[in-house]
């Protein structure tokens, strides 16, 4: 899969690093949990563990001279499967401790062996660290092993991910924002919600921080409002809350920018997002459901946003969530000053220009240790698996997230579909549903199986 130009996609085309510099990839997902620790939250430990194991996505982007740090060694069979597809494997390092309550950066910092191992490799060749997000721990690690990293300083990352900050910034530069406002008191939130309910069937109330729908409360029925207000009242939030109308008839887009230290803004990917109301489930790219003229205007606005973010001190990879509704562009609803899951797969269109890519995860019960392999086998039997010869088909990845041996409950089956056209993509969708129904007794179609 990773041909020479694709292999160096992030290295040369996005980060524009010096030749001879290799990358040290760190999937330190979960920083939002720290930022929201003072909020009233309910944790789902089983789900957190699955999310931590999405780190295997690094196997798809790292070059053979790169290093990736994973929580656990991937299964041998999975690595063989990747090699067969043509993926050249990087060096994989894993900390000794397996503790999902700690961030991967923390585990690395506490593991002298792994620190020494990285230092030893650094003596021979130069490396640059690519974390999922720059945190204080990443900065500490960078100092400890004497390595540069891609991205802004951790305090800037924190500021840039604040939804209130982004809303203000969009307003300040005159970009179109969803109807609504920033509220400082519970009573203001109540009044604004009532006001917006006159125009919108749903209103969303957002806390400054939150990921995957956490911290975003949808008021579809006004009877839910008091419950939500009771919850908001449980913690003091300095920045206030954002109350906005919820646009039903919309396209959700995500743009990926890279802002270099010198201020170059590189818009390297635009994808349509697949959402379950407010929860991210996947992406389709390139975007074919939005008119070309609107897309061109959107790109211009993104460049403006990039330059303003640069002035605010923001560097590195930034994911921008936008919506298009009624022909109007709302170019920045939220920003992630860090990688997102879809960032890692942004290289795909560079691999094969004329294909449509769809990445999505399915919720599956982890009923057996080998369920991921059983599903993959069925796809191979139907001759619909992705191969390096065909350069299209269905490709399952992130094996650990659907591994009944190390995880429990409901896993995530990550699927990438590479199709020549829309019809073929629809066919792959149907096939996936059939395969899952064959392997999992009582499986309901994906459309009915959102959770």
């Amino acid at each position: 899969m990773k041909e020479v130009d694709v292999l160096r996609y992030f290295h040369d085309q996005i980060f524009k690093l010096k030749e001879g510099t290799n990358l040290l990839w760190l999937f330190n997902i979960g920083i939002e949990e720290k930022w929201t620790s003072q909020y009233f939250n309910v944790r789902d430990v089983q789900e957190e563990e699955i999310i931590q194991h999405m780190d295997e996505i690094l196997l798809l982007v790292a070059g053979k001279n790169d290093i990736i740090i994973l929580r656990e060694k991937p299964r041998k069979e999975y690595l063989e499967y990747l090699t067969e597809i043509g993926i050249e494997l990087p060096t994989i390092l894993c900390p000794k401790k397996r503790d999902c309550s700690k961030s991967i950066s923390k585990l690395v910092l506490e593991d002298e062996n792994i620190i020494e191992e990285i230092k030893r490799r650094l003596k021979k060749v130069s490396f640059c660290m690519v974390p999922y997000a720059v945190t204080k721990e990443v900065e500490e690690l960078s100092k400890k092993i004497n390595i540069e990293y891609i991205g802004s300083k951790s305090n800037v990352v924190h500021k840039g991910n604040n939804k209130i900050f982004i809303r203000k910034l969009a307003g300040d530069i005159g970009l179109k924002c969803p109807k609504g406002k920033i509220c400082q008191t519970i009573s203001e939130v109540r009044n604004e919600t009532y006001q917006l309910k006159n125009t919108f069937p749903k209103v969303c109330i957002k806390r400054p921080y939150g990921v995957s729908g956490n911290g975003v409360f949808l008021v579809n029925d006004i009877s839910r409002l008091e419950r939500i207000l009771f919850m908001l009242n449980k913690q003091v939030i300095q920045d206030g809350w954002l109350v906005e109308g919820w646009y039903e008839d919309k396209k959700d887009l995500n743009a990926q920018l890279y802002i270099s230290k010198s201020g170059d803004v590189n818009l390297f990917s635009i994808k349509e997002q697949i959402l379950d109301e407010k929860i991210y489930r996947g992406s389709i790219f390139p975007v074919f459901s939005v008119e070309k003229t609107i897309l061109e205007e959107y790109k211009i606005q993104l460049k403006v946003i990039g330059r303003v973010l640069y002035e605010k001190g923001i560097r590195g990879v930034i994911g921008i969530d936008s919506i298009i509704s009624g022909g109007e562009i709302f170019p920045i609803i939220e920003a992630n000053v860090r990688f997102t899951l879809s960032t890692y797969l942004s290289f795909l269109p560079y691999m094969h220009h004329n294909c449509i890519y769809k990445m999505e995860y399915y919720r599956i019960p982890l009923i057996s240790e080998n369920i991921w392999f059983k599903i993959n086998k069925k796809i191979v039997e139907k001759n619909l698996n992705f191969t390096k010869e065909k350069m299209n088909g269905i490709f399952l990845y992130n094996q650990k997230c659907a591994d009944g041996k190390c995880l429990q409950g409901r896993g995530r089956l990550f699927v990438l579909m590479v199709a020549e056209n829309k019809e073929r993509l629809k066919y792959f969708d149907r096939i996936m549903d059939c395969v899952l129904a064959e392997v999992i007794e009582g499986y309901e179609s994906r459309k009915d199986n959102k959770k």
């Binding site: 009233f40 939250n41 309910v42 944790r43 789902d44 430990v45 089983q46 789900e47 729908g213 956490n214 839910r224 008091e226 419950r227 939500i228 009771f230 919850m231 929860i279 019960p365 409950g409 409901r410 959770k451």
Partner: protein, 88 residues
Amino acid sequence: MNLEKIIRNKIKEVVGLENAENILGDKDLRDDGLDSLNAIELIVELEMEFAIEFDEDDLLVERINTVDKIVELVKKYIERIEEKTWEM
């Protein structure tokens, strides 16, 4: 209305589980749509209904993923309030 019936009604309302009245007491509600997003609302709803407050240690989906667990947890908090009232 007894405690369990009220709780089942709240599950129906918040999680959107139509058969909440009949679901087995030890059935894992995560299979039927309970997640960290609606769990937070379910807890708030229970707190408002029974005038209780969940401890931070209980703010885990795993603590409220079956009807039986929720009933036991709510009972614990109600008893705690009753003990406090008795002491006063």
